[in-house]
Symmetry: C2
Subunit: 195 residues, 2 copies
Amino acid sequence: MISAPSGAGKTTLCRRVVAADKRLRESVSYTSRQPRRGERNNRDYTFVTADEFRKMASRGEFVEWAEVHGNLYGTSRKRLRDLLAKGFDVLLDIDTQGAAQFRRAFPDGVFIFILPPSREALRQRLEGRGANSKADMERRMGNAAREMKNYKNYDYVIVNDVLNDAVSGLRAIIESERLRTARVDRAWIRDNFFY
Amino acid sequence: MISAPSGAGKTTLCRRVVAADKRLRESVSYTSRQPRRGERNNRDYTFVTADEFRKMASRGEFVEWAEVHGNLYGTSRKRLRDLLAKGFDVLLDIDTQGAAQFRRAFPDGVFIFILPPSREALRQRLEGRGANSKADMERRMGNAAREMKNYKNYDYVIVNDVLNDAVSGLRAIIESERLRTARVDRAWIRDNFFY
Protein backbone atom coordinates (compact mmCIF):
# COMPACT_ATOMS: atom_id res chain seq x y z
CA MET A 1 0.00 0.00 0.00
CA ILE A 2 1.54 3.23 -1.16
CA SER A 3 0.43 6.72 -0.20
CA ALA A 4 1.84 10.14 -0.96
CA PRO A 5 0.66 13.70 -1.17
CA SER A 6 -0.22 14.87 -4.67
CA GLY A 7 3.06 16.01 -6.24
CA ALA A 8 5.39 13.50 -4.53
CA GLY A 9 5.86 11.55 -7.77
CA LYS A 10 4.12 8.38 -6.64
CA THR A 11 2.58 7.42 -9.98
CA THR A 12 5.86 7.51 -11.95
CA LEU A 13 7.66 5.66 -9.16
CA CYS A 14 5.06 2.88 -8.98
CA ARG A 15 4.97 2.47 -12.75
CA ARG A 16 8.74 2.03 -12.90
CA VAL A 17 8.74 -0.58 -10.15
CA VAL A 18 5.82 -2.59 -11.55
CA ALA A 19 7.44 -2.62 -15.00
CA ALA A 20 10.61 -4.14 -13.49
CA ASP A 21 8.99 -6.85 -11.35
CA LYS A 22 7.15 -9.76 -12.96
CA ARG A 23 5.58 -10.88 -9.68
CA LEU A 24 4.09 -7.46 -8.97
CA ARG A 25 0.93 -5.88 -10.37
CA GLU A 26 -0.99 -2.71 -9.75
CA SER A 27 -4.70 -2.97 -9.11
CA VAL A 28 -6.40 -0.34 -11.27
CA SER A 29 -8.62 1.85 -9.09
CA TYR A 30 -12.03 3.22 -9.89
CA THR A 31 -12.54 6.96 -9.78
CA SER A 32 -15.31 9.45 -10.38
CA ARG A 33 -12.95 12.20 -11.46
CA GLN A 34 -12.40 13.28 -15.08
CA PRO A 35 -9.42 11.73 -16.91
CA ARG A 36 -6.35 14.01 -17.10
CA ARG A 37 -4.52 14.43 -20.37
CA GLY A 38 -2.74 11.18 -21.26
CA GLU A 39 -4.72 9.02 -18.84
CA ARG A 40 -6.35 5.92 -20.29
CA ASN A 41 -9.44 4.12 -19.06
CA ASN A 42 -8.67 0.78 -17.35
CA ARG A 43 -4.94 1.52 -17.35
CA ASP A 44 -4.59 4.57 -15.11
CA TYR A 45 -8.05 4.32 -13.61
CA THR A 46 -11.43 2.95 -14.48
CA PHE A 47 -13.43 6.12 -14.91
CA VAL A 48 -17.06 5.97 -13.78
CA THR A 49 -19.67 8.55 -12.84
CA ALA A 50 -20.10 9.51 -9.19
CA ASP A 51 -23.47 7.81 -9.38
CA GLU A 52 -22.08 4.49 -10.64
CA PHE A 53 -19.30 4.74 -8.05
CA ARG A 54 -21.73 5.19 -5.17
CA LYS A 55 -23.80 2.22 -6.37
CA MET A 56 -20.69 0.04 -6.41
CA ALA A 57 -19.76 1.25 -2.93
CA SER A 58 -23.22 0.48 -1.58
CA ARG A 59 -22.92 -3.07 -2.98
CA GLY A 60 -19.64 -3.50 -1.04
CA GLU A 61 -17.55 -3.79 -4.20
CA PHE A 62 -14.66 -1.73 -2.81
CA VAL A 63 -12.14 -2.94 -0.26
CA GLU A 64 -11.61 0.72 0.54
CA TRP A 65 -12.83 3.94 -0.95
CA ALA A 66 -12.44 7.61 -0.11
CA GLU A 67 -13.35 11.07 -1.28
CA VAL A 68 -10.22 13.10 -2.04
CA HIS A 69 -10.39 16.72 -3.19
CA GLY A 70 -14.05 16.19 -4.08
CA ASN A 71 -13.49 13.04 -6.16
CA LEU A 72 -14.19 9.42 -5.30
CA TYR A 73 -11.49 6.73 -5.49
CA GLY A 74 -11.87 3.05 -4.68
CA THR A 75 -10.10 -0.31 -4.85
CA SER A 76 -12.13 -3.12 -6.39
CA ARG A 77 -12.42 -6.15 -4.16
CA LYS A 78 -12.77 -8.43 -7.17
CA ARG A 79 -9.70 -7.08 -8.98
CA LEU A 80 -7.57 -7.37 -5.87
CA ARG A 81 -8.77 -10.89 -5.13
CA ASP A 82 -8.18 -12.04 -8.73
CA LEU A 83 -4.57 -10.75 -8.75
CA LEU A 84 -3.77 -12.37 -5.40
CA ALA A 85 -5.38 -15.65 -6.52
CA LYS A 86 -3.05 -15.66 -9.52
CA GLY A 87 -0.07 -15.40 -7.17
CA PHE A 88 0.83 -11.77 -7.79
CA ASP A 89 1.93 -9.32 -5.16
CA VAL A 90 -0.27 -6.26 -5.51
CA LEU A 91 0.81 -2.64 -5.32
CA LEU A 92 -2.06 -0.43 -4.23
CA ASP A 93 -1.89 3.31 -4.68
CA ILE A 94 -4.22 4.66 -2.02
CA ASP A 95 -4.81 7.89 -0.16
CA THR A 96 -4.13 8.26 3.52
CA GLN A 97 -7.79 7.68 4.47
CA GLY A 98 -7.80 4.44 2.49
CA ALA A 99 -4.62 3.29 4.21
CA ALA A 100 -6.27 3.32 7.63
CA GLN A 101 -9.14 1.15 6.31
CA PHE A 102 -6.62 -1.17 4.68
CA ARG A 103 -4.60 -1.61 7.85
CA ARG A 104 -7.71 -3.08 9.46
CA ALA A 105 -8.53 -5.27 6.45
CA PHE A 106 -4.91 -6.42 5.84
CA PRO A 107 -2.95 -6.20 9.10
CA ASP A 108 -0.02 -7.98 7.41
CA GLY A 109 0.05 -5.55 4.48
CA VAL A 110 3.10 -3.37 3.91
CA PHE A 111 2.51 0.37 4.16
CA ILE A 112 4.84 2.78 2.38
CA PHE A 113 4.74 6.58 2.38
CA ILE A 114 6.38 8.66 -0.35
CA LEU A 115 7.57 12.15 0.56
CA PRO A 116 8.74 14.89 -1.79
CA PRO A 117 12.33 16.01 -1.08
CA SER A 118 11.29 19.45 0.17
CA ARG A 119 8.43 21.96 0.40
CA GLU A 120 9.97 23.87 -2.47
CA ALA A 121 10.13 20.80 -4.71
CA LEU A 122 6.50 19.99 -3.88
CA ARG A 123 5.46 23.54 -4.76
CA GLN A 124 7.26 23.32 -8.11
CA ARG A 125 5.64 19.99 -8.96
CA LEU A 126 2.20 21.35 -8.10
CA GLU A 127 2.88 24.38 -10.32
CA GLY A 128 3.75 21.98 -13.13
CA ARG A 129 0.33 20.39 -12.60
CA GLY A 130 -1.48 23.65 -13.13
CA ALA A 131 -1.86 24.98 -9.61
CA ASN A 132 -1.61 28.54 -10.76
CA SER A 133 -3.59 30.88 -8.55
CA LYS A 134 -2.12 31.70 -5.17
CA ALA A 135 -5.28 30.51 -3.39
CA ASP A 136 -5.29 27.21 -5.30
CA MET A 137 -1.60 26.63 -4.50
CA GLU A 138 -2.17 27.38 -0.80
CA ARG A 139 -5.09 24.94 -0.71
CA ARG A 140 -3.02 22.21 -2.35
CA MET A 141 -0.02 22.81 -0.10
CA GLY A 142 -2.34 22.66 2.91
CA ASN A 143 -3.81 19.36 1.69
CA ALA A 144 -0.31 17.95 1.16
CA ALA A 145 0.80 18.95 4.66
CA ARG A 146 -2.31 17.34 6.16
CA GLU A 147 -1.68 14.13 4.21
CA MET A 148 2.02 14.05 5.08
CA LYS A 149 1.25 14.21 8.80
CA ASN A 150 0.11 10.58 8.43
CA TYR A 151 3.54 9.25 7.50
CA LYS A 152 4.10 7.89 11.02
CA ASN A 153 1.31 5.34 10.46
CA TYR A 154 3.30 3.69 7.66
CA ASP A 155 6.02 1.03 7.88
CA TYR A 156 8.44 2.70 5.48
CA VAL A 157 9.18 6.22 4.26
CA ILE A 158 10.81 6.95 0.89
CA VAL A 159 11.94 10.48 0.11
CA ASN A 160 11.52 10.83 -3.66
CA ASP A 161 14.44 13.11 -4.48
CA VAL A 162 16.39 11.22 -7.17
CA LEU A 163 13.89 8.96 -8.97
CA ASN A 164 16.36 6.08 -9.47
CA ASP A 165 17.12 6.00 -5.74
CA ALA A 166 13.43 5.97 -4.88
CA VAL A 167 12.87 3.12 -7.38
CA SER A 168 15.73 1.20 -5.80
CA GLY A 169 14.31 1.80 -2.31
CA LEU A 170 10.83 0.65 -3.24
CA ARG A 171 12.16 -2.43 -5.01
CA ALA A 172 14.29 -3.25 -1.95
CA ILE A 173 11.24 -3.02 0.32
CA ILE A 174 9.28 -5.38 -1.92
CA GLU A 175 12.15 -7.86 -2.26
CA SER A 176 12.90 -7.86 1.46
CA GLU A 177 9.28 -8.21 2.52
CA ARG A 178 9.14 -11.42 0.48
CA LEU A 179 11.91 -12.74 2.74
CA ARG A 180 10.02 -12.04 5.99
CA THR A 181 9.95 -15.11 8.19
CA ALA A 182 6.17 -14.83 8.46
CA ARG A 183 5.94 -15.16 4.66
CA VAL A 184 8.41 -17.99 4.02
CA ASP A 185 7.15 -21.42 3.17
CA ARG A 186 7.27 -23.21 6.53
CA ALA A 187 6.10 -26.49 5.06
CA TRP A 188 9.01 -26.44 2.61
CA ILE A 189 11.51 -25.78 5.39
CA ARG A 190 10.02 -28.53 7.56
CA ASP A 191 9.98 -31.11 4.78
CA ASN A 192 13.48 -30.17 3.65
CA PHE A 193 15.26 -30.11 6.98
CA PHE A 194 13.20 -31.56 9.79
CA TYR A 195 11.59 -34.72 8.50
CA MET B 1 22.51 -9.95 13.00
CA ILE B 2 23.03 -12.92 10.77
CA SER B 3 22.92 -16.55 11.79
CA ALA B 4 23.18 -19.77 9.83
CA PRO B 5 24.13 -23.37 10.39
CA SER B 6 27.70 -24.21 9.45
CA GLY B 7 27.68 -24.93 5.72
CA ALA B 8 24.95 -22.46 4.70
CA GLY B 9 27.48 -20.15 3.05
CA LYS B 10 27.06 -17.24 5.47
CA THR B 11 30.66 -16.03 5.43
CA THR B 12 30.92 -15.67 1.63
CA LEU B 13 27.50 -14.02 1.49
CA CYS B 14 28.35 -11.47 4.20
CA ARG B 15 31.69 -10.65 2.62
CA ARG B 16 30.08 -9.94 -0.75
CA VAL B 17 27.47 -7.66 0.78
CA VAL B 18 29.92 -5.72 2.98
CA ALA B 19 32.24 -5.19 -0.01
CA ALA B 20 29.36 -3.64 -1.98
CA ASP B 21 28.02 -1.30 0.73
CA LYS B 22 30.09 1.64 1.95
CA ARG B 23 27.82 2.29 4.94
CA LEU B 24 28.09 -1.29 6.19
CA ARG B 25 30.88 -2.92 8.19
CA GLU B 26 31.41 -6.27 9.82
CA SER B 27 32.51 -6.33 13.43
CA VAL B 28 35.37 -8.83 13.69
CA SER B 29 34.56 -11.40 16.38
CA TYR B 30 36.91 -12.93 18.90
CA THR B 31 37.28 -16.70 18.97
CA SER B 32 39.22 -19.30 20.88
CA ARG B 33 39.27 -21.74 17.97
CA GLN B 34 42.28 -22.38 15.75
CA PRO B 35 42.47 -20.45 12.46
CA ARG B 36 41.37 -22.46 9.42
CA ARG B 37 43.46 -22.40 6.28
CA GLY B 38 43.25 -18.95 4.68
CA GLU B 39 41.86 -17.20 7.75
CA ARG B 40 43.72 -14.11 8.89
CA ASN B 41 43.92 -12.69 12.40
CA ASN B 42 41.84 -9.49 12.85
CA ARG B 43 40.21 -9.93 9.46
CA ASP B 44 38.24 -13.16 9.79
CA TYR B 45 38.46 -13.33 13.57
CA THR B 46 40.70 -12.13 16.34
CA PHE B 47 42.19 -15.40 17.56
CA VAL B 48 42.81 -15.63 21.30
CA THR B 49 43.33 -18.48 23.74
CA ALA B 50 40.34 -19.85 25.64
CA ASP B 51 41.92 -18.38 28.75
CA GLU B 52 42.19 -14.87 27.32
CA PHE B 53 38.65 -15.18 25.98
CA ARG B 54 37.23 -16.10 29.37
CA LYS B 55 39.04 -13.18 31.02
CA MET B 56 37.55 -10.77 28.48
CA ALA B 57 34.11 -12.27 29.06
CA SER B 58 34.42 -11.90 32.84
CA ARG B 59 35.32 -8.21 32.35
CA GLY B 60 32.09 -7.75 30.35
CA GLU B 61 33.92 -6.99 27.13
CA PHE B 62 31.51 -8.97 24.94
CA VAL B 63 28.02 -7.85 23.97
CA GLU B 64 27.29 -11.54 23.45
CA TRP B 65 29.36 -14.67 23.51
CA ALA B 66 28.68 -18.35 23.15
CA GLU B 67 30.35 -21.73 23.03
CA VAL B 68 29.74 -23.45 19.71
CA HIS B 69 31.05 -26.95 18.92
CA GLY B 70 33.48 -26.58 21.83
CA ASN B 71 34.87 -23.18 20.76
CA LEU B 72 34.19 -19.73 22.16
CA TYR B 73 32.96 -16.85 19.98
CA GLY B 74 32.20 -13.31 21.10
CA THR B 75 31.35 -9.82 19.81
CA SER B 76 33.47 -7.03 21.25
CA ARG B 77 31.42 -4.28 22.86
CA LYS B 78 34.11 -1.69 22.06
CA ARG B 79 34.41 -2.64 18.39
CA LEU B 80 30.66 -2.53 17.90
CA ARG B 81 30.32 0.79 19.70
CA ASP B 82 33.18 2.36 17.69
CA LEU B 83 31.63 1.36 14.34
CA LEU B 84 28.19 2.64 15.32
CA ALA B 85 29.72 5.91 16.61
CA LYS B 86 31.32 6.40 13.19
CA GLY B 87 27.87 6.10 11.60
CA PHE B 88 28.25 2.64 10.10
CA ASP B 89 25.58 0.00 10.04
CA VAL B 90 27.08 -3.15 11.48
CA LEU B 91 26.66 -6.69 10.21
CA LEU B 92 27.16 -9.21 12.98
CA ASP B 93 27.73 -12.85 12.23
CA ILE B 94 26.50 -14.66 15.33
CA ASP B 95 25.33 -18.09 16.32
CA THR B 96 21.77 -18.83 17.31
CA GLN B 97 22.54 -18.62 21.04
CA GLY B 98 24.10 -15.19 20.54
CA ALA B 99 21.07 -14.00 18.62
CA ALA B 100 18.79 -14.50 21.61
CA GLN B 101 21.10 -12.40 23.79
CA PHE B 102 21.27 -9.77 21.09
CA ARG B 103 17.53 -9.51 20.78
CA ARG B 104 17.40 -8.48 24.42
CA ALA B 105 20.31 -6.03 24.05
CA PHE B 106 19.13 -4.58 20.70
CA PRO B 107 15.37 -5.01 20.39
CA ASP B 108 15.42 -2.84 17.25
CA GLY B 109 18.14 -4.92 15.59
CA VAL B 110 17.39 -6.82 12.40
CA PHE B 111 17.68 -10.61 12.61
CA ILE B 112 18.34 -12.63 9.49
CA PHE B 113 18.64 -16.41 9.15
CA ILE B 114 20.46 -18.07 6.24
CA LEU B 115 19.34 -21.54 5.20
CA PRO B 116 21.05 -23.91 2.79
CA PRO B 117 18.87 -24.86 -0.19
CA SER B 118 18.45 -28.48 0.93
CA ARG B 119 19.71 -31.18 3.27
CA GLU B 120 21.69 -32.67 0.40
CA ALA B 121 23.41 -29.34 -0.39
CA LEU B 122 24.26 -28.91 3.29
CA ARG B 123 25.75 -32.41 3.39
CA GLN B 124 27.88 -31.68 0.34
CA ARG B 125 29.17 -28.41 1.77
CA LEU B 126 30.06 -30.10 5.06
CA GLU B 127 31.92 -32.82 3.14
CA GLY B 128 33.86 -30.06 1.40
CA ARG B 129 34.85 -28.81 4.83
CA GLY B 130 36.35 -32.12 5.84
CA ALA B 131 33.47 -33.84 7.61
CA ASN B 132 34.58 -37.26 6.43
CA SER B 133 33.67 -39.95 8.91
CA LYS B 134 30.05 -41.00 9.03
CA ALA B 135 29.85 -40.23 12.76
CA ASP B 136 31.34 -36.77 12.29
CA MET B 137 28.91 -36.02 9.46
CA GLU B 138 25.94 -37.19 11.52
CA ARG B 139 27.04 -34.99 14.43
CA ARG B 140 27.39 -31.96 12.15
CA MET B 141 24.06 -32.57 10.43
CA GLY B 142 22.43 -32.92 13.86
CA ASN B 143 23.97 -29.61 14.98
CA ALA B 144 22.77 -27.91 11.80
CA ALA B 145 19.21 -29.20 12.27
CA ARG B 146 19.20 -27.99 15.88
CA GLU B 147 20.42 -24.56 14.81
CA MET B 148 17.98 -24.30 11.92
CA LYS B 149 15.05 -24.93 14.26
CA ASN B 150 15.66 -21.36 15.52
CA TYR B 151 14.83 -19.71 12.21
CA LYS B 152 11.38 -18.69 13.45
CA ASN B 153 12.98 -16.29 15.95
CA TYR B 154 14.43 -14.22 13.10
CA ASP B 155 12.83 -11.41 11.10
CA TYR B 156 13.96 -12.65 7.68
CA VAL B 157 14.94 -15.95 6.09
CA ILE B 158 17.22 -16.19 3.05
CA VAL B 159 17.64 -19.54 1.31
CA ASN B 160 21.20 -19.48 -0.04
CA ASP B 161 20.75 -21.44 -3.25
CA VAL B 162 22.12 -19.16 -5.98
CA LEU B 163 24.70 -16.89 -4.32
CA ASN B 164 23.84 -13.81 -6.41
CA ASP B 165 20.17 -14.09 -5.41
CA ALA B 166 21.10 -14.41 -1.74
CA VAL B 167 23.38 -11.34 -2.04
CA SER B 168 20.54 -9.41 -3.66
CA GLY B 169 18.14 -10.48 -0.91
CA LEU B 170 20.48 -9.49 1.89
CA ARG B 171 21.23 -6.14 0.25
CA ALA B 172 17.49 -5.52 -0.17
CA ILE B 173 16.88 -6.21 3.52
CA ILE B 174 19.61 -3.76 4.52
CA GLU B 175 18.43 -1.06 2.10
CA SER B 176 14.78 -1.42 3.10
CA GLU B 177 15.48 -1.44 6.83
CA ARG B 178 17.13 1.98 6.39
CA LEU B 179 13.76 3.21 5.09
CA ARG B 180 11.80 2.04 8.15
CA THR B 181 9.67 4.82 9.55
CA ALA B 182 11.18 4.25 12.99
CA ARG B 183 14.63 5.01 11.51
CA VAL B 184 13.87 8.04 9.33
CA ASP B 185 14.95 11.46 10.45
CA ARG B 186 11.79 12.84 12.05
CA ALA B 187 13.41 16.19 12.79
CA TRP B 188 14.26 16.61 9.11
CA ILE B 189 10.67 15.81 8.06
CA ARG B 190 9.24 18.18 10.66
CA ASP B 191 11.56 21.07 9.73
CA ASN B 192 11.02 20.50 6.02
CA PHE B 193 7.26 20.17 5.92
CA PHE B 194 5.59 21.16 9.17
CA TYR B 195 7.26 24.37 10.35
